[in-house]
Symmetry: D2
Subunit: 455 residues, 4 copies
Amino acid sequence: MNLWGGRFDKEPNAAIAAFTHSLPFDQRMAQQDVRGSIAHCRMLGHTGIISAEEAAQIEAGLREIAAELPDAGVLTGAEDIHSWVESRLREKVGPVSGKLHTARSRNDQVATDARLYLRDAADGLAGQLRDLQRALLDHAAEHGETVLPGLTHMQHAQPVVLAHHLLAYFWMLQRDRGRLADWRRRANVLPLGAGALAGSPYPVDRAFVARELGFDGVGENSLDNVSDRDFAVELGAVLAIVALHLSRLAEEVVLWNTREFGYMELDDSVATGSSIMPQKKNPDLAELVRGKSGRVFGNLQSLLTTMKGLPLAYNSDMQEDKERIFDSVDTVAGCLGSMTILFRSCRFRADRMLAGTHGDFSTATDLADFLAQRGIPFREAHEVVGRVVKWCETNDRVLESLSGADLQEFHPDFAHAPADITSVRASVRARKSPGGTAPDEVRRQLAVAEVAWEL
Amino acid sequence: MNLWGGRFDKEPNAAIAAFTHSLPFDQRMAQQDVRGSIAHCRMLGHTGIISAEEAAQIEAGLREIAAELPDAGVLTGAEDIHSWVESRLREKVGPVSGKLHTARSRNDQVATDARLYLRDAADGLAGQLRDLQRALLDHAAEHGETVLPGLTHMQHAQPVVLAHHLLAYFWMLQRDRGRLADWRRRANVLPLGAGALAGSPYPVDRAFVARELGFDGVGENSLDNVSDRDFAVELGAVLAIVALHLSRLAEEVVLWNTREFGYMELDDSVATGSSIMPQKKNPDLAELVRGKSGRVFGNLQSLLTTMKGLPLAYNSDMQEDKERIFDSVDTVAGCLGSMTILFRSCRFRADRMLAGTHGDFSTATDLADFLAQRGIPFREAHEVVGRVVKWCETNDRVLESLSGADLQEFHPDFAHAPADITSVRASVRARKSPGGTAPDEVRRQLAVAEVAWEL
Amino acid sequence: MNLWGGRFDKEPNAAIAAFTHSLPFDQRMAQQDVRGSIAHCRMLGHTGIISAEEAAQIEAGLREIAAELPDAGVLTGAEDIHSWVESRLREKVGPVSGKLHTARSRNDQVATDARLYLRDAADGLAGQLRDLQRALLDHAAEHGETVLPGLTHMQHAQPVVLAHHLLAYFWMLQRDRGRLADWRRRANVLPLGAGALAGSPYPVDRAFVARELGFDGVGENSLDNVSDRDFAVELGAVLAIVALHLSRLAEEVVLWNTREFGYMELDDSVATGSSIMPQKKNPDLAELVRGKSGRVFGNLQSLLTTMKGLPLAYNSDMQEDKERIFDSVDTVAGCLGSMTILFRSCRFRADRMLAGTHGDFSTATDLADFLAQRGIPFREAHEVVGRVVKWCETNDRVLESLSGADLQEFHPDFAHAPADITSVRASVRARKSPGGTAPDEVRRQLAVAEVAWEL
Amino acid sequence: MNLWGGRFDKEPNAAIAAFTHSLPFDQRMAQQDVRGSIAHCRMLGHTGIISAEEAAQIEAGLREIAAELPDAGVLTGAEDIHSWVESRLREKVGPVSGKLHTARSRNDQVATDARLYLRDAADGLAGQLRDLQRALLDHAAEHGETVLPGLTHMQHAQPVVLAHHLLAYFWMLQRDRGRLADWRRRANVLPLGAGALAGSPYPVDRAFVARELGFDGVGENSLDNVSDRDFAVELGAVLAIVALHLSRLAEEVVLWNTREFGYMELDDSVATGSSIMPQKKNPDLAELVRGKSGRVFGNLQSLLTTMKGLPLAYNSDMQEDKERIFDSVDTVAGCLGSMTILFRSCRFRADRMLAGTHGDFSTATDLADFLAQRGIPFREAHEVVGRVVKWCETNDRVLESLSGADLQEFHPDFAHAPADITSVRASVRARKSPGGTAPDEVRRQLAVAEVAWEL
């Protein structure tokens, strides 16, 4: 029943009840609802709002419910998880269960449950981020000297080493972990005790409840506590950025698995075939991860839009926060888990990567830098090398094939160039600035990343 | 199994399979999948690609499956609904079932199923739009003379009649019906026969299949047929605009149910109480409808984002279209149904509406118009009346209380003003321009709306 | 000044005025504002609401303003374009200008201006869509026999002809034209005459004004007329889908311009170099088109969100419609224009495309279809060919190199296979189902497309 | 010119150049570009990559440019701000200017400029958040005893004090400041020195540059440094949540300015009139702030979508980050500034607020709490009071009018109720739990808020 007491003449319309009830999606917070109720119950006892005996009875009933939940299957028969637990409790301990509702409202209760649930979920996601980072770090450790074409605009730009490339994603995920940690700190504040909106006339001890539930503090303002959904929206934004990073990594997987690139080999166990084309080995998983970014972005938009323009305090619109943020949590968890499996089992093709650099002019900058280091303004050096490239293209030559004499035709200073000036190995070795792609420098970066990963 | 044949060394990883499988959400297209398969099967028989006997056997099996589906509960044991039906068919008719896959691919099959499903769903939504329009029209018929304050900027602007106000929503929904009809025409094109991407080497008769399935035509380009998701995105946009309109209507319900406005009374059966505050009667349903607009907007964003930048032809990202567009369909269906119930059972408070106009200066424009009609430039007339209003405010008077003599203090021409110049009834009666709020004109508009509704 | 008359004690705060004024962005509707005013003025004269002489004076002034606008540069000194035109008109014709404001409000005026402006803009976009289609059709006409690897999941799937691939985009754009046309029909309805919200007490002739301005009809409900922004939201959605299609086409340009694919050559005039890497030739333009989809999607969300939950009638939030829809119009216009230039000047590399099919197993389906056509259930045929592919991969062979004898090792029926069964040319020739990639069929499709283009 | 050197045969197409050039919008980063260049120049001198004299010459030229910029007006004649500064520098110091480009690329330069610009902008926004908080705190200090109806579901729920209500918004803005601070810490990392993507072969001192520019550290990975746009996306998300909070506050302003609520009076200087209705005083500014949330939400979606699926490293799509994040910065700055002016000049109507509580049943919970505190389970107490409310409604009575004897009809324990049990003042006084609305407690909260504000 969606209302208490004698004020209403009619039972709720069944279709409307089906539309407004939240049990189908808020039952995943059942354990959190019980945990929150136990803390509230202890506080009621501890402060003498109810008797110690009543508190003990209620807590015992709640503990039984918690123990039964894992086998309870799909819950039905109530409008929301709070009513479900409440009615189950009444079955167990009788009328005393009604005292649990003292000094508490649905509005502060649901906000508490949701924060507890999302805190747990975010801790899980943080662990999954670390797992994926681990898979990347392991490959990076192995591929500190594997050279591949570095791309900008998807054009061959300068050669880089594979470890360097993989570490770029490590750092994206590291920032994601930072955002999650910031979110946790900000969201980990207790709403319970705010009542329906105005606080409670009972001598509640909110700090006690906060400690019981592992919250870092107590909400400063009851109106805000019941009507704030920043914790959902901000988490939705944090997860959108995770999904963004994963969509980029997934794009690389798709690209590197093409016949044209061929830099990567997926394990058969993570690829899919085709019902019609017997030769196909599709990177479905990566495509889905790429596509699911849309879902997580959309959920963020939903959360923002739903909250737009709502005056204080609680409004039912806020009930809409749950399905969207749960979906973002589930989606990102699925994407992280799948990508970790994929990366743990994939193989990189160093041979194809190196082959990809042949004849790709990706050391042209090295030629220009050589001239610049001899005092020629960079712009001028750039023009000289531009002519070299054009000449090669016209004459169907690759840069690696040019002799010192060939180069001197374009600029006399090339007489002093080292023999391997157009070699990709020399090119990567040279880029030893902090953050650069030189193998020694990347080794250093890897050590820094390992330290960061441990945090 | 997500692949056929002897090309792969390993079974799919179970976690990855769980991530990539679509059966949990595409099983709602089961009937459409069977229907599409029957049409394809008949075509294969009709063209002699398979024998008449084979076709008959397969069709019989499919018909059995269709008959069993209503009681089948939650389907499991396959990666998607197509595989599920296929494997069920094999159980029923044996190896001949394999021939159904001739000249068909998952790519054109899923596009066909989705279009069939959404076409059915959209037809349902069109009917629901009409139902809500009906509820509005019925109230409008009753309230052709009920005057309430018309608002702009949520400030009292000019009086209007309630029928006029409700008809504004009628026309929003009428445009929605138009958009749905346009969508249907554009989306109702058969993808089947496009094969995996390049068409079929079999002598298929696509027009035959289109006729069987009620499609208006056959897709012109097989690459487009398997990779186009305009039908989902455009429907997502159409539904977003429906949700937008409903959010506005819901805002009115919330506002009109406030103690401050009090223009509306919800039936007890559609309102909810509070677990803590015994006096509450909350318009939950309308709040949810308002909030769910966020969901539908976000789904549209998800669909757009997922499709962004995908090269031809099919990519697995496209699998993500279904859950989002299904959610928009379900959400809008729920909102329309609930709002119809709400409007069928609500009561408008004509007394509160009329009372709302007392002393609200909403006939000030009529004073200005009166002067303008006597040849005074409107800007000047506006200034005169501005001074009248200010004088009233300063002296705590209402416009209705001013005598002709009072008005003449501000402009001599008021000497010729009719006695009821400040009356809201006179004001609405005067606005008889086409589309205006004069009761006679609104009666005409209602007749036009009734004709439009029948379409 | 943002208000008229004697009601306010203070001048507007300058910072607030800067925040609320719309002239910086609504001045682009100046011609439409004047055009709408001329029509309104004629109607006032025609109906005798003002004298013929007054109407003539006002119209003459407005015509002067229209003539001056092209050289007027950036307009300043008013809160919005309506006030600017009004004050300019007063300078030209004196106090009679005040009569133009009779029977008209900002609310219906701005809605009229916006519809006129967007109608003009949409007509321009429809023309640009045709231009891009033309460029695609011209390439298609030339490349009816150019074979390239058709991809699904970005894996080589089946060979297709380039004309077929380009026509897929033609049809996307054709649907876009259809959506624009539907929008035009629905949006081309006159709001003017709705007054502030409630209609007009003057004997206005709205049909006259509609005819003058090329509208197909008159708005049915004044409350709706001033508060409806469907015309902006729906156009925003139509343009989002155009941007989606362009992002896909742009992705192909970027991909086909990679060293790895190399299917396309951009003209130097549309590519960009690098300030640091002399060898670079970047497809900037296509990347920007791809990226700008985000902008157009975001604008749509902005429009939807801004309108969410607004009660009737006009609210200032609606002022926010303009910048976002203008930005979508500008962005899509820029993208269409640029892509047309790109496609007009680019060159396709048929040699690279054909080379891309060598050894790619993309005719594996043809082998399976061959067996299936001999009565072997397709699933079984698929498995046989899966083993063929696997054997080739293990033994480093390409499908084209297998002899009839080799194939018979896998299935005896291959004894009857034609010699060219693994040839890509034979493969495309075979797919002659309607919409398929067979050159003859594509030629037919091209003729259909030419007819559709003319519409 | 959009390229350097001799590689290209043709000049850029003018239309394409107009489409791809960023000067129109990136010129607002001119000072940051120069500042970054000065730091880079000093580093080049400090490390001996260029001579001290060269460095001095270049820096002097750059300083001149910085000094000229404030009067430079709209910049033209280059593709982007970097080229503009570069070419201006060449005019000033001649060919030596070319050396500034040593060890630097557009890719790391633009990322540096953008971070500098946004850091400055975010610092400004943080200050504006404080200003608005100040305005709220000042009103709160004044209205610690002003009682108004506290709403949930927009229904009168329980009375609250105005200070409490305003402080709810204070805390929202405080969280916004926290998010901005977290963003700053995370974004304040130097990209310069990453080169085009792979790092630099020059002995650059990135830490030196970081110190010069006030960055907290140096980017760990050059590929990430040039292709990361988290700093824009995360800021976009932070600002979206600010806009969300402002939309809620704006909704209250609109609502409280209605004739029906009448809780607030805007100063004439921040309100607007109507061109047609002389009585209007519209809260335009608040409506715009509410509506502009759509813009800021949409910008976030644009940023996310644009970055979706981009492989490493720099792609031109990323150029699209600037206009959207700049628009969010400008929009939120405008909204914060305007709302601060509004709140500084507005007046609250304590009389109307108190009048709003008359007869609103908002102390019904107090009756139930009274019974509960006497040992009656809350659920039962709730039912009793529900019957009280219903009786009042049926008999047209208000709760305040019930005598003790009246109440005892419903439950005997009411015999012990205090005389003022239905008074709103007693109700607020009772809610003294931490965060509650009791005036003493709110006074304490205000003190806490003042401390937080100082941070």
